[in-house]
């Protein structure tokens, strides 16, 4: 043939690093460079530690959300659940049932984890056994959890009364190991475990299978309801872990605690490259996503380019940009 059309340069389709998996980290790096250029204070040790510590709450919850979304679910109740769990924990701390402060705090933590897991179990069983869309179920439990807290607090807030307990518990949030705050270590631990579950265990593979194609999973003999329910329980545990670390910082819980956090957590998951429809989960991407959201807020506070009141708008824009980028990457494959 003489009329040969110019052939596009071909690249060997060798196994290459997935662009979608790296994108959130590249974006994070880029934003950090921009932040450093905008204000040198951004790269100061104190500021970095501050950003990391502030992002841990969302990151911890979002790791659980990554599992839920990967299995094809969604949990809108996490913010309200956090408030509810925090309220119960503080009530227990105030109850004075245990005299020894350390034992009291440790027991309250265990209680929180139990409550979180039960809340997750309730979400999970209602969606799977009740065969109701997770969006609806968790929208319902979101209202229930928040309302229960408001009721417990009688419309006000629940505060740790005993100053001794408060002082002892403070260490959990404000303490550090070799300069790294405990909350950051906890989040790293949660992410490591989350990644281990999702990538290395048979259960994690079942999670991906269920989210990728429920029918295939069912025909392969996988108990779809059980796999999904467990993701909600793990999500509940993640919320409880975040609360346990976060309570000393707040020292109180009110109807406003955790308001809107479910959306920030879902944003972190999606920005991190997890597919909202399920089947593809990226735990470390989620952590990067949570950092991106926090870093941008931080940069906006430090620089005077954009009003800090527009943080929500910028975060909203990030979701859209992240989705467009994902779409673009998918098309270029």
């Amino acid at each position: 043939m003489t009329q040969a059309v110019q052939e596009a340069p071909v690249t060997a389709p060798k196994r290459r690093i997935s662009v979608g998996g790296v994108a959130p980290f590249l974006a994070l790096a880029l934003i950090c460079v921009l932040g450093a250029a905008a204000n040198p204070r951004f790269v100061s040790f104190d500021n970095i530690v501050n950003v990391l510590a502030r992002s841990t709450f969302i990151a911890t919850i979002a790791v659980g959300q990554t599992l839920v979304i990967t299995a094809g679910g969604l949990d809108l109740s996490v913010g309200a659940m956090a408030a509810f769990v925090a309220g119960l924990q503080i009530l227990f701390l105030n109850s004075g049932w245990i005299d020894n402060t350390t034992i009291l705090i440790v027991t309250s933590m265990a209680l929180s984890l139990g409550v979180g897991a039960l809340c997750g179990l309730f979400n999970g069983l209602t969606t799977t056994l009740g065969k109701i869309e997770p969006f609806i179920v968790t929208l319902g439990t979101m209202g229930i959890f928040r309302s229960l807290l408001t009721w417990l607090a009688q419309g006000g807030s629940i505060t740790i009364k005993d100053s001794g307990v408060r002082a002892a518990y403070r260490q959990v949030y404000f303490g550090d190991l070799f300069g790294v705050p405990y909350p950051v270590l906890v989040t790293i631990g949660v992410a490591v475990i989350g990644a281990f579950i999702l990538y290395a265990t048979p259960y994690g593979r079942h999670v991906r299978a269920v989210g990728s194609n429920e029918d295939v999973a069912r025909y392969s003999g996988i108990n779809v309801a059980r796999v999904r329910t467990i993701t909600y329980v793990l999500q509940g545990l993640c919320v409880a872990i975040a609360v346990v670390v976060y309570v000393p910082r707040l020292s109180s819980a009110s109807a406003a605690t955790g308001l809107g956090w479910e959306l920030v957590a879902i944003t972190a998951v999606v920005v991190g490259g997890t597919r909202l429809k399920g089947g593809v989960g990226r735990v470390w991407g989620t952590v990067a996503g949570a950092l991106i959201l926090e870093v941008i807020g931080n940069i906006m506070l430090l620089s005077n380019l954009v009003s800090e009141y527009l943080i929500g708008a910028v975060q909203g824009a990030i979701i859209v940009i992240a989705m467009l980028a994902q779409r673009g990457l998918a098309r270029n494959r």
């Binding site: 043939m1 009329q3 040969a4 059309v5 052939e7 071909v10 690249t11 060997a12 389709p13 196994r15 281990f196 290395a200 265990t201 048979p202 593979r205 079942h206 991906r208 299978a209 990728s212 194609n213 029918d215 295939v216 999973a217 069912r218 025909y219 392969s220 003999g221 996988i222 108990n223 089947g279 593809v280």
Partner: protein, 516 residues
């Protein structure tokens, strides 16, 4: 390649050619999947394209219908060079493609799907009555009396396929391309479709027809083009070719017998006994048994309830009845329960129920038996890799790259992978639904051999198929279903096509006026 020289045709357009492809090539990355293929299609002529999976048929079709641009080469419509900007552009020029994969919105009705994007209007609103009338008419041509206002979700795969064909042909067209239209149809619907194609021919439509069923090609085509490894190896009048010649050209070597020697007839006590089994809304009172080492076929028309029976048996849909495995009473609430007991079901719908198309081959291979690949809390990747090596070898899964995703495999290799996946469980009873749907003849031959091997190992194999020839070719015994009931059984000397059709269509033995 005596008559395959592309250059012979270039510059000398065949008389009356509507659509001509000249020296088409297409590469994906470094791999050229189609190289220098030229064909010309005339009005009122059925031009069949045959070849093994991976021979480049689908790529050629996608280029002809505007879904893909060729890397080299040209398309001529009525002798004038055209560049198709996409499928819509192709449709505008009168080229329609009937897809192999079903592309209908499951929650919309047949009518809504058929007129999607081209709704008829009456004033400001859609003209439902007229659209329903036309849709009903189009489906009636195929002998489908389904309610056209019912959601597509409720239709069987065959009915969906027919709805899709009707949808494609509702667009005004001069050239109709059929990509494996009969892959999920039973003989009755196939006959209706072939009749429809004759009508298209009479209306001077140029038809391009792709199929793995060579008998069908022989009966419907005027011209046959054979592709192998992305190249055209022959274009000949269909009258000069027998199905066996076609197969020989496709594989480029002489085929041994298509069916393996039948393993010895089994005599033992039944491995699986099913009694009075019901699949809610589909099957009533089904009873049968299969012995170790036996290959038992299930024949019947589409909608006879074969798939539904076994899906209910394995707890994949609602139903119930007595199940005994090696004499022990069973109740399988889900597929896992059957697997634990030693029985597996391989779905007919491997793309949407059998394999995770976006996951790797290894992940798919071990998905149903992941507990066997566990080391502590971890998935044992090394063991998984060894299993993949074994499976690739035993089932001849042809993969250039082990990291390919299941969705990137050809149909035949996907089917082999699905078989390998379920064999990880080492089952005693294997139910295979449509084992060779949409796969090429070479892979078919291999699948038959695997089935015979399973039987020789003493496993019970149940094969559900709409291809009577293959059931007759490999089974010891065939059960025929009709309208959700077991209509009868044929075995031994009586194992022939006529006996099955009589039972499947519900005609009294020796009765007159049988439905063709």
């Amino acid at each position: 390649m005596s008559d395959g020289e592309a250059s012979a045709r270039v510059g000398a357009p065949a008389a009356g050619a509507v659509l001509e492809a000249v020296g088409l090539s297409r590469s994906f990355g470094p791999i050229e999947v189609l190289s220098d293929v030229s064909i010309s299609v005339r009005a009122g002529e059925v031009h069949a394209i045959i070849g093994e999976n991976g021979a480049g048929k689908s790529t050629l079709m996608k280029i002809l219908s505007g879904y893909l641009a060729p890397t080299r080469g040209a398309l001529l419509l009525d002798g004038a060079r055209i560049e198709l900007k996409g499928p819509v552009d192709a449709e505008r020029r009168g080229i329609v493609l009937v897809h192999q994969e079903i592309m209908l919105a499951p929650d919309l009705s047949i009518t809504e799907n058929m007129f999607l994007g081209r709704e008829l209007r009456r004033g400001l609103t859609v003209d439902d009555r007229e659209m329903n009338r036309q849709a009903h008419e189009a489906m009636r041509v195929f002998g489908v009396e389904a309610a056209v206002s019912a959601p597509v979700r409720q239709l069987s795969i065959a009915q969906r396929q027919l709805a899709q064909i009707a949808r494609a042909l509702a667009v005004p067209h001069r050239i109709a391309i059929f990509d494996e239209p009969t892959a999920s149809l039973t003989p009755v619907e196939t006959t209706a479709l072939l009749k429809l194609i004759e009508e298209l021919k009479a209306k001077s439509v140029a038809v391009i027809y792709i199929s793995h069923r060579l008998d069908e090609v022989k009966s419907v085509a005027d011209v046959v083009t054979v592709l192998r490894d992305g190249k055209r190896v022959a274009t000949r009048p269909a009258s000069e070719l027998q199905p066996l010649d076609m197969a020989r050209l496709m594989v480029g070597r002489d085929l041994l017998a298509l069916y393996p020697p039948r393993p010895q007839s089994p005599t033992g006590e039944p491995a699986l006994e099913v009694a009075h089994f019901v699949a809610a809304g589909f099957v009533e009172d089904a009873s049968f048994a299969v012995r170790p080492g036996e290959i038992l076929g299930f024949a019947g028309l589409v909608g006879a309830g074969r798939t539904e029976l076994f899906e209910a048996l394995f707890g994949l849909r609602k139903g119930g009845g007595e199940i005994r495995l090696n004499g022990a009473a069973q109740q399988w609430r889900d597929a896992r329960a059957g697997m634990r007991a030693g029985a597996v079901y391989l779905t007919e719908d491997r793309k949407s129920k059998g394999l995770l198309l976006e996951e790797t081959i290894a992940t798919n291979l071990t998905l149903a038996a992941l507990h066997k690949f566990q080391r502590g809390p971890l998935v044992d990747r090394a063991k998984e890799n060894r299993a993949l090596d074994d499976a690739i070898q035993r089932f001849d899964i042809r993969v250039g790259d082990r990291n390919l995703l299941a969705g990137q495999l050809s149909g035949g290799n996907q089917q082999k992978l699905l078989l390998a996946k379920m064999m990880q469980l080492n089952p005693r009873v294997v139910v295979i639904d449509e084992p060779t749907r949409g796969i090429d003849i070479g892979a078919k031959q291999q699948i038959y051999r695997f089935i015979a091997a399973l039987s020789a190992e003493g496993r019970s194999v149940i094969v559900i198929s709409s291809e009577m020839a293959e059931l007759i070719g490999i089974c010891h015994r065939i059960i025929v279903m009709r309208n959700g009931r077991i209509a009868g059984e044929v075995a031994g000397e009586a194992l022939n096509e006529h006996a099955i059709v009589v039972l499947a269509a519900g005609v009294a033995e020796g009765g007159e006026g049988a439905r063709a």
